[in-house]
Symmetry: C2
Subunit: 322 residues, 2 copies
């Protein structure tokens, strides 16, 4: 156990923040520190909050943070923003809403951006959650924009998943594509004071009824998740959402163990994919700095080689190279 691991376990915020950054940047020793911390994790209640852009996830998380802070618990927030060309990272607007918690020592907010083609979303998120867990944060929210597979992978790492939708996002069915229903423990119709809220709720309820909800492999079909009507900007619906979360947290021990195993599998798979893609991207290189596999890519571009054969060669070589 390194001095830094000890500091994180003792709840040292600066050490925790530094470790998260070093993990993102691939600084030597950071992975080893995290591995040392890992056996001390697993105590936190990790809540994923996901949904399409613009449904009000940040405002909802802000309300949830206030509720859990009021119980005296320290609260961690990991906000995952897809890469933005504007800020090179997290968008300011989202975070501004969290400002009332920014001066609260008991709330740790970490914004993560995806790093373009090289991925890293799952690794960074898993790293930040593990560090906060080890540092003694009993409640951790992970907020993602949940339409893509990467975001679903991240949500799968949570102990409870809140899927947020809102009226006026095209039809409700569209807003809930992407397998989000499959992973939801609670559904929230936010902005429920808007026109179309009743319609959105009705659509959602119908969908839940007609949908043969696919369970995790080997699991019997679960009952439909509760649907909460909320107006995050006023706090309406927050108590109902907290109750639903606490019900999910109190699941039977056997369910909990199975879920933890699936979380582990999802996490490892996501990291495998990212690591392989990083290595492969380095092997290809860029226009200015071609890597050893650049000629293979040239052959594909010239249609002399098909991309599937190229991918096979690259996957093998990338792993051998690591």
């Amino acid at each position: 156990m390194s001095a830094r691991s000890d500091a994180v376990l003792a709840g040292d915020l600066r050490a925790a923040a530094r470790l998260m950054r070093d993990l993102d940047d691939g600084v030597a020793g950071a992975r080893e520190d995290l591995a040392a911390l890992y056996p001390k994790t697993g105590g936190a209640f990790v809540v994923g909050v996901t949904g399409a852009p613009g449904v009000g996830k940040s405002t909802l998380v802000d309300q949830l943070v206030a509720v859990y802070r009021a119980t005296g618990a320290k609260v961690g927030v990991v906000a995952v923003d897809p890469s933005s060309p504007f800020s090179g990272g997290a968008l300011l607007g989202d975070r501004v809403r969290m400002q009332r918690h920014a001066v609260d020592d008991g709330v740790f907010i970490r914004s993560l951006a995806t790093r373009g083609q090289l991925g890293g979303l799952s690794r960074s998120t898993a790293g930040a959650v593990a560090v906060l867990d080890a540092a003694g944060y009993p409640v951790i929210f992970v907020e993602t924009v949940g339409v893509g597979q990467a975001e679903i992978d991240v949500a799968r790492m949570a102990d409870a998943v809140v899927v947020v939708t809102a009226p006026g996002l095209g039809d409700g069915v569209q807003a809930l594509k992407a397998g989000l229903l499959e992973i939801a423990d609670v559904l929230v119709v936010n902005k429920a004071d808007r026109d179309g809220a009743d319609l959105a709720l009705r659509d959602l309820t119908t969908m839940l009824q007609i949908a043969a909800r696919p369970a995790w492999p080997g699991e019997a079909a679960r009952p439909a998740p509760p649907v909460v009507r909320a107006v995050a900007s006023t706090g309406e619906g927050t108590p109902e959402l907290v109750r639903a979360l606490e019900a999910a947290r109190a699941r039977p021990a056997a369910d909990r163990a199975r879920r933890r195993r699936r979380q582990a599998a999802a996490q490892v798979l996501a990291i495998v994919s990212e690591v392989t893609q990083d290595t492969a991207a380095r092997a290809i290189g860029g226009d200015e700095n071609p890597g050893p596999f650049a000629p293979t890519i040239d052959a594909v571009a010239a249609r002399a080689l098909d991309p599937w054969s190229a991918a096979e060669r690259l996957a093998t070589a990338a792993t051998e190279r690591r």
Copy 2:
């Protein structure tokens, strides 16, 4: 060159459709047939159409298909839907809108669904596009729900990328997260007859001005893409969009060659990631059918091993096992 490859090259639709299905299902010989076809591809103009759920992408593609069909060209459409628990695949609603083309022999529509955790989106899309290209479709639209990295990867495979947004999707900035602006050759504000359209257009224009648009590595900053105001349901804006697409198609030969190389790299990388993840998922297995790596996952779930070390072991073993 197999009999099937010959049939596809001769424009045999049944052979083409069968090859796409066999590629998806991993039927023996399909990959070889595709590899044989690959040198004959590269002639088609591939247009990616992407954007958040509910912005009206399908209706827009429907209009574009009508315009290109009117020139006599055969048109292919590959519609990528994230997996839905309702249909086990593509959602009916989207496709219904394309029905006016369903009876037109000159339009080939292929709906693809992602296959849950195992991925396959990039492979299936690339396969369908290559088959249509080889079968002599000079224009191919690839429609994706573009908020996740997988969808961005797919869009990167296109010769021109249309990013669609609409008023009322939360704030415009939110709707355009996820690096979509980076890859857009044309931006469309659809549903421009709705309240908030002027605001959405103004936001977008401001964003384009303030954004230091990141270029592809090694490329100088490009000028901002054109913004088209459209009402896809009436056809308003379609002529402007077609003009913008044709301008993108007519890019200089050097730019075109560079872009083809990047398409090849993006395609190969996406396939590498999918292949590795498939293999890794099989190694882990499910609750009922644990694979050789199940004990490693159990160790992670029990916090005896950290997920990063597990991923490293798995990535190495997964490749050796292939």
